[in-house]
């Protein structure tokens, strides 16, 4: 690429954004040339999305200062009418969640045709033809038929392709892509990114990619700008920045790939598995169409005849895309989902325990950590109530002082040691005062306080920022080494599997399609799905 006398397509100078007087972006500046792919990278709350969307003044309630020159016209001072011409005209946006970016009441084709008619002045018939062409160019099969489909009738990947087609309809010179692949399954992410690359080359447009995923940046972008807490700390060519990061924060980001530090000794031959399943099958009732639906429900088999075993002190990784039945497997393991086949936790069957009236004692042995730290803690309970609740049930003999001691000990175990001065005050805080990583630690403390043998980790880090993710994984590894905990780790993130798992099973459509020792399996994946996953993470 030539970066000589050509003046940039977009010049951002000293951009400042504030919400009700509280600044969130503190004067950032960058250039974007025609046909260039710039990635804006940062963790959540770094202001990357706000920065990009405020260029089009799309952020409500924000005061924006500075300059954003598109061909010498300042977008930030343009009148509303002229700005509407730029939005969806010169600059188009692709949002993260394709389901909400499309209007559910209109056919996909109609929504694209609307843009064509508005921005390019095509007639109805021309627009329809152009719509089909656009959809075809995004790789949607049977574009003429899909154009008449409603958003809910398309798959997630197809929806995102349709959103991209809509963005391209106005032949923009700049495409703002705000986390365009985050809401999609891992195996689809690569495809969408390749599509964006192809289209970018064909149309010669510039792309501003907003992402937190460094793998995407490496694969996609020409240049990268790193944001931290509203400051632009580093920018440059991707190869340059990745090879020789200058700023400490960039180094931290690049270095955030989780490290494997787990017990690698072979499992003793006589060790009894903490979790053992044979021929595990789970059905869901689903409504049946037609008259038959009045009389009986249909059956959807979410898990079909799965065998697995988790030895003590080891981690079994379960990999699969959404809908593969891995979360159902987690619920069955927790005894929250009726199942067929054999499922034993510390040598006991859930049904047998229920019959023997020992359900509570068994529940204590299996605890869970969920993906989303914002929905896994009740917003109306204090830290002490949340962590101490399990003690109230399983060790009712403790008095208030002993219980508080145990709660504090559990918090210290997960690295949430309250400061010396405000320990008690700290216990009375509510979840909303903690960051995502701290909340996830609280969820782990809640599980640990009753001293379980098995932790079910359902995507424990995928809602966290990369640097926090690394810390939480390190914590889980330390707890496993110290206490001999067993983990059933459910994830779609190969990096997490690589760092944590001893054995891996790969699930697809409710069945185990591949299994084996972690590193061997990742080195030479056999099943096509596993291969896509491993490639996507490479």
């Amino acid at each position: 690429m030539t970066e000589t006398a050509v003046s940039p397509l977009l010049q951002v100078r000293d951009l400042r954004v504030a919400f009700r007087g509280r600044p969130v972006v503190h004067g950032i500046g960058f250039d974007l040339h025609a046909g260039e792919k710039l990635a804006l990278v940062g963790e959540s709350g770094s202001g990357k999305t706000v920065s990009a969307l405020s260029l089009l003044r799309l952020v409500q309630g924000a005061t924006v200062q500075g300059q954003a020159l598109l061909d010498g016209r300042d977008l930030l001072t343009l009148n509303e009418r002229a700005l509407r011409g730029v939005r969806g005209g010169d600059i188009a946006v692709v949002f993260q969640e394709p389901m909400t970016a499309l209007n559910p009441l209109y056919a996909v084709g109609d929504q694209i045709a609307e843009v064509l008619q508005l921005k390019r002045g095509l007639t109805g018939a021309q627009a329809t033809a152009a719509t089909v062409e656009l959809l075809a160019s995004t790789g949607i099969p049977e574009p003429a038929r899909r154009a008449r489909a409603f958003p809910h009738q398309l798959s997630g990947g197809q929806r995102q392709r349709a959103v991209i087609a809509m963005a391209l309809a106005s032949q923009p010179r700049l495409l703002l892509a705000d986390e365009p692949t985050t809401a999609l399954d891992v195996s689809l992410r690569g495809q969408i990114l390749d599509l964006l690359s192809d289209l970018q080359r064909q149309h010669g447009m510039a792309v501003l990619l907003i992402t937190h995923d460094l793998n995407l940046v490496r694969r996609f972008a020409d240049r990268v700008a790193v944001m931290e807490k509203g400051h632009l700390v580093e920018q440059g060519a991707v190869a340059e920045v990745f090879a020789r990061p200058q700023h400490a924060y960039t180094r931290q980001l690049l270095d955030s790939r989780p490290v494997r530090n787990v017990c690698e000794d072979p499992v003793p031959a006589d060790a009894r598995p903490v979790l053992q399943a044979q021929g595990l099958t789970v059905h869901y009732p689903v409504p049946q169409p037609g008259l038959a639906g009045w009389f009986r429900a249909g059956r959807f088999t979410a898990v079909k005849g799965v065998d697995l075993a988790v030895p003590p002190g080891r981690t079994l990784g379960v990999v699969g895309e959404s809908g593969s039945g891995k979360s159902t497997l987690a619920l069955a393991t927790l005894g929250l989902q009726a199942c067929e086949g054999q499922l034993q936790v510390v040598g006991q069957d859930w049904q047998a325990a229920a019959r023997a009236g020992q359900l509570r004692a068994l529940r204590r042995q299996v605890q869970v950590v969920f993906q989303d730290p914002f929905s896994s803690l009740s917003p109306r309970m204090t830290v002490e109530q949340i962590v101490g609740e399990g003690l109230g049930i399983h060790e009712p003999g403790l008095d208030a002082g002993q219980r508080r001691e145990r709660v504090l000990a559990a918090l210290a175990d997960v690295g949430l040691a309250p400061t010396a001065d405000g320990g008690a005050d700290w216990l009375q805080r509510y979840p909303h005062e903690f960051s995502g990583g701290q909340r996830q630690r609280l969820a782990i403390a809640r599980a640990l306080v009753v001293q379980p043998s098995l932790l079910v980790l359902d995507e424990p880090t995928s809602a966290l920022d990369v640097t926090v993710q690394r810390q939480v994984l390190a914590l889980l590894q330390r707890l496993q080494r110290e206490r001999g905990l067993s983990y059933l780790l459910i994830t779609h993130d190969i990096d997490v599997i690589r760092a944590m798992a001893h054995e891996v099973v790969v699930m697809k459509d409710g069945q185990v399609v591949e299994r084996g020792e972690c590193r061997a399996l990742l080195r030479a994946p056999q099943h096509p799905y596993t291969q896509t996953l491993v490639q996507a993470a490479a």
């Binding site: 927790l334 929250l336 529940r363 109306r380 049930i393 005062e433």
Partner: protein
């Protein structure tokens, strides 16, 4: 991270306090309710305290026959009687009267103006067509309305929460059966049932409360059900199940506190709806038994005596003020509990 630690409900309360219109309405409403609860001290046809020939009497709480104060008959004293007044005003005797010396049902046989009388120095708001003091009726009528509305709201809210919680938490067949029941129950003609029942039974406030409660819980129940359906499958509820909590504990500690937002938001609006319901039933003559001070009955009098503008105007004013205060409170509460608003 903030240094102070407040529960979500306390933060909502602070947001509510910052809304000056809503908070002011709450204070004024509470003050009015407190005043009306002390109505006997403000508006009463008996003196609060009497000293007669060296002895102290408390007519406020005790009946004295006229003979005690030098009258001829062994009947309860009418303290509006000029003769009794003169007796009490003699040397050494005194009496402390309420600021408004009429009760809600006091008939002043010694009034100077014909009924209904326009506002005068004796009757500040005038009298109704039976000669009862309007101010006294408004004070007592307001009290009856507010207490009735509080009771109706409380019963309806509890019923709504319980039924909504059962449907939402257990879902499935329980939910299905209950929903059908609600559909049948909700399609019964409430007003006709009220008319029929008021013909069959002797009308009373209690009966009215029961009848209105029977039909008043369904709207709220749907909201609570929806909240429960949403909250019961959140991760913290699953975690609580995995921890081994019983259904009761899960409902009480986890789901219920997080499902009360619509309930709290609707409280003032439900109260104003209850006041309106009572007023309209009274207006139609289907409400409280005769002799109970009631705003609806006053409105109906105002309709029948269109020339006596003071009746309809003052009653209308009290109603509008009450409903307006409740609506302002409701608006402020809704804003305070809006999950999209951060502070």
């Amino acid at each position: 991270m903030t240094t102070t630690s407040l529960s979500p409900s306390r933060r909502a309360w602070q947001r509510f306090r910052r809304n000056r219109l809503g908070y002011g309405s709450l204070l004024l409403f509470c003050a009015l309710v407190m005043l009306s609860l002390m109505a006997e001290l403000i508006s009463n046809d008996r003196p609060l305290l009497v000293r007669y020939e060296g002895q102290l009497y408390v007519p406020l709480v005790q009946d004295y026959p006229e003979t005690v104060f030098g009258g001829d008959f062994d009947t309860p004293t009418d303290y509006l009687d000029p003769f009794i007044r003169a007796q009490l005003a003699k040397d050494g005797n005194w009496a402390v009267y309420a600021p408004n010396p009429y009760g809600p049902n006091t008939l002043n046989y010694f009034a100077k103006a014909p009924n209904p009388s326009a506002p005068t120095a004796d009757n500040w708001f005038g009298t109704d067509d039976r000669g009862r003091d309007l101010l006294a009726q408004l004070i007592y009528g307001f009290r009856v309305s507010v207490l009735f509305a509080l009771a109706l709201t409380a019963i309806g809210t509890v019923l709504g929460i319980v039924t909504g919680a059962i449907q939402g938490f257990f879902g499935g067949k329980t939910d299905l059966a209950f929903q059908r029941f609600i559909e049948i129950w909700g399609s019964m003609p409430e007003l006709y049932l009220l008319i029929i029942f008021s013909a069959v039974f002797a009308p009373s406030v209690g009966l009215l409360l029961v009848l209105l409660s029977l039909f008043g819980w369904m709207g709220l129940s749907d909201y609570v059900r929806a909240e429960f359906l949403r909250n019961r499958q959140l991760d913290y509820v699953r975690a609580a199940r995995a921890m081994g909590l019983s259904n009761g504990q899960i409902i009480w500690r986890h789901v219920l506190p997080n499902s009360l937002t619509p309930v709290v938001t609707f409280l003032p609006f439900r109260m104003s709806a209850a006041i309106l319901a009572l007023t309209s039933l009274d207006f139609l003559g289907l409400g409280v038994p005769p002799g109970t001070p009631s705003l609806g009955e006053l409105l109906s009098q105002g309709k029948n005596n269109i020339d006596a503008w003071w009746i309809s105007l003052s009653t209308f004013g009290v109603l509008v003020l009450t409903l307006l205060l409740l609506t302002f409170m409701g608006d402020a509460l809704r804003d305070a509990l809006d999950p999209r608003k951060q502070d």
